[in-house]
Symmetry: D3
Subunit: 242 residues, 6 copies
């Protein structure tokens, strides 16, 4: 098993469930990564815990009328259908729709199957169909809203578990997808542990800063914090823990 | 009366009220129609029964400062105002806004008038104004959200009840507009009966398939259904009906 | 103090709080102003009274990797941070994001500071981060939704309180920003009093018209109102006031 | 014959052939018209005299697979084919393509027919096919470049000689279309004579101004000209004419 | 060797070299294929014979700062560099750039290598760099113009010879790419022979039709041709051949 | 005089005149700058030596009908007109048009004035008017093509010589603008000398590499060059110089 595929530690998973995508973007920015937040991808399902899981990908190319008729969907090897059955439980199915909004990449039956199989969630830079029903489901779905036409109108499912682009961001199989109310960030697998750790630290500090600002403190010295604020934070943190 | 203008049968109307736009798109795709779902048009009003009705159209072109001043709206022959008064009850007013989002095509007074007149609904590929009030009204309105500028800023109402484009889709007077939470599909008048019939059949089958998938069935053989699944469906259906 | 900076009268403020942006756009259209409603800017926070206040501006240009690293935010003279501290209470901070959706222009800490300082609200043609938290705050925020990446990914804060473009509209310091559920209109400071006065009058008339239309009146003669309708309105208004 | 359809005078035609679209836009701006230059429409054919002529329009809506198959083109009443035969000699065929770049609105056979018939030119906000051949023809063609797919892929020709939008500008039958190397302006028929006259005057003045600027004069006082420059212009003009 | 990879016959190659992309689009439209012409892809190099050859593909995804630094280009296995060395002579390298215009997909050194190796041409839905030099080269290059930034700014070369999208069109390895002055069409490999044959026939007929139209014939009966015109064509063709 | 404003050395100027924007982008990429090439900005004027010079900026915001009428252009303090007179000889006037294509930012009279004054060139992310005449002028102009409407239709000139965005790139007064046939790159003033030096070195090496590739060398070991190729280059260079 390659390093990229080592299961994420329980600690990292827990930290990422509590982190905001804003904080994660800042941590990745500190490491020189500026393009990690998926554009045009929003949470469809009702709020809950963060989406967290390694990426399993599906790649679409434009459809062609002679190849992409309804009967292809009956083939168990059709990459869209097969990916639904093979994405490992706990993983996130990430679909490259080329940002195309004119057709859905999945509907309520396929997403129900993902949910039953224990898949962590779905991320796509295109819409789903049956979006009102899906919005009520108990599996996080991030996409470009709802659209009624079936995938074959625009998409040919080409292959699965290859590097893709989604929402303008590179997604490699095994990258850690994290979603909150803001949207979805793709964390390179190799950085997941350290980013999760530092994000937790940053969020703790920012909770303190926010308390100060809400209490009337001005920005200078407080945000970003100077040495005095950092000292106050350490005291505050100890008190909170005790 | 031309065939296109024969009133829709009560059976077809009822079937379309229960069908989803996703299913209707699939039925039209089976008949070779790939571009039937309006892009950039979303439900503004709160959920209820599907919008269903034949299209009555209004066509806008870009406005011109010397022609499109406020006084033109006082002319009862102004096509926008006249269309509000002449769209037949039970029909859907479909407005071609060229996808322009910088001005509204109607506001709460005009839409109230449509509602009072018994019009089935409004579909436009541009925004409305007074959108918060309209969202609460008891008439389905599908549009490109809300925008405060009046129509004259961008639109000159040119004529009514001619073939138009709306949301990138051809809409002919008499085409059957169906809207649900996903958006709006335009069904050619000549196909309405058979599409309604087959959509009802498809939805019944998919309800069964969904039940199976929710119960743990894998996709192969279930979705799309093979002969065994179809047999099980027939039994299930008979039981449901009895 | 220049004329533009004379505080708005209490009467004008009150009228603007009650006016809709639709009505304000119509009043400005009557005066030859067609481009006053900000495109791509929507209310993020929950409904309440209208946003009203004079504009204080912040201007962003594209960021550059060598200049826009995290440490710049610690400088109290950094224009973004400084503008948060210097926008006068009762004013609206209006941020030029060039319509860029790939980075946030502010987050919950900065917006909390604006709220604590008594700033009237925030308007930006780019997203904010921590959008779910901000949506619950008690300060009106109008923006292009939520996005997790920090401002430095796309923006360099260049200067404050200069004329800017926001949502495709010119905004001069002191212009009166008014926001309702539809969005935001920028009223030139010199026109604020007369526009507020005439908007109040128009809204009163339209309330009457709406009542008539809801009661079954046809558009001709009612909307726009002819002499008879205007007379009826005057009587109605007197009765309402008495 | 309505006033709009009175033939243009030889004097106006000649003036418009010599005017630049830049000057014409300025003259229309002086009269309050800001949206008269077609966006996304460029000269395809090699330079020559200006395109000048009254508009005859053709309107396209999105195509539909069941209606828009090749056999429809054999019907002499098909609006695209019929418009080619009915646009009067000396007029300009203006085609509304909704800015769609994915299909051509005409090819070399149709445009040869226009040329043989003495039509003044073609203007479209979509591409043509056979663009390399057309670029060499002796009839001015302004369009959105070249694209190989036939019109039926995207367009259904709906009707002719109705008001349309083209390049985001309103074009009414009889409006005067003028094209130079920059592109195309639509002049309302009722303003054509005065705009042509004032444009000639403006161009004469600007030729003088340009001479001065090329000779080293600074902008202040020269452009726009003050009284002294205007006096010098009058002398210069008399000398040129004598 | 799969059928798709059987070399194209000399006859088909020759016919495609003489066919226009317009004619090829019409032939494919007759067979139900509407989306075969690449959008946003134009000929950069000076005119010559048509580009014709089977596709060999290269797929890009968005770049990531930690993976896509200059040193990767020194690896002979880097997919971009390797594809330049492995695309078979006589084939066309087709690059999926996701329509991204902010970085080049190749420059004059790589394209010189393609030329030296006998590759038939390059097609990309993104720009090249050194575009002025490349425009003078003796190998057909179709792309989205020129842009100076190197590929790594936007692209990570992911893999080669897989199905891709290019210019919004599906391109499978072995599909026949044909380019003329208008742009590029992708012909499914299985249809190449029959499309080439029927295109030659169509072009012959249209040459005759054009001659007639240029000679003053009206469209009805001539274009499309009725039985009489077709008879006249057959005589004309025999005379031409004799 | 600040460091940024020290005149560029003759050596740096000469090197930049000979460098391609492609090479300059690569040098800046090596230093971590990925967004330095202006998007949507192309050379309008006929080829010649590279454009090279420090930036002097002009900033536009959206126009407003009450402020931006023709008479404002007569004011010598109007920022557009004043900038034409104050940009120092040898500098490049860089205009922020917000990417707006619907109005020109300058015409032949203003650009003639720039030429007479010895200004190095004009760069704008919007069109010019009188573009055919300007294309023939002896001053490099880079812009978004031609468009006839005057600036006031869309632009209000706000101020000059402030940091701006142009073509999506940050441009600070004094930054070194370099343009070739590909387009324009903005080099931070502080990096100009080292980038110019390393670009010259890179271009020399690439000339050698291109010679090798044209002679039949394969990419591996040649491009990028390995140690052997670099040694051969050093010999080649010495021979060339002697």
């Amino acid at each position: 098993m390659s390093a990229a595929m080592t299961p994420l530690s329980a600690e990292t998973l827990e930290r990422l469930r509590l982190a905001s995508t804003a904080t994660l973007c800042t941590q990745l920015f500190k490491r020189g990564l500026r393009n990690v937040f998926l554009q045009g991808v929003a949470r469809l399902t009702h709020a809950g815990a963060n989406l967290v899981g390694p990426a399993y990908t599906l790649r679409n190319i434009p459809s062609r009328e002679d190849l992409d008729q309804l009967d292809v969907l009956g083939d168990p090897e059709h990459p869209q259908r097969k990916s639904i059955e093979t994405v490992p439980p706990g993983h996130v199915l990430v679909i490259d729709c080329r940002g195309e909004r004119g057709a859905a990449c999945a509907g309520n039956i396929l997403i129900t199957r993902l949910m039953v199989r224990g898949v962590a969630g779905l991320v796509a830079d295109g819409p789903v169909r049956d979006s009102a029903e899906i919005a009520q489901m108990d599996i996080p779905v991030y996409c470009a809203g709802g659209s009624a036409p079936l995938n074959l109108v625009k998409h040919h499912a080409a292959d699965a578990n290859v590097p893709i682009g989604c929402g303008g961001v590179a997604v490699y199989p095994g990258d850690v997808m994290v979603g909150d109310a803001e949207g979805v960030v793709a964390i390179p697998r190799s950085l997941a542990d350290e980013v999760a750790r530092d994000a937790a630290e940053q969020e703790s500090l920012e909770a303190f800063v926010l308390e100060r600002i809400a209490g009337g403190a001005a920005l200078p010295g407080t945000y970003p914090p100077n040495a005095a604020t950092r000292s106050a934070f350490e005291i505050w943190r100890k008190q909170k823990r005790s």
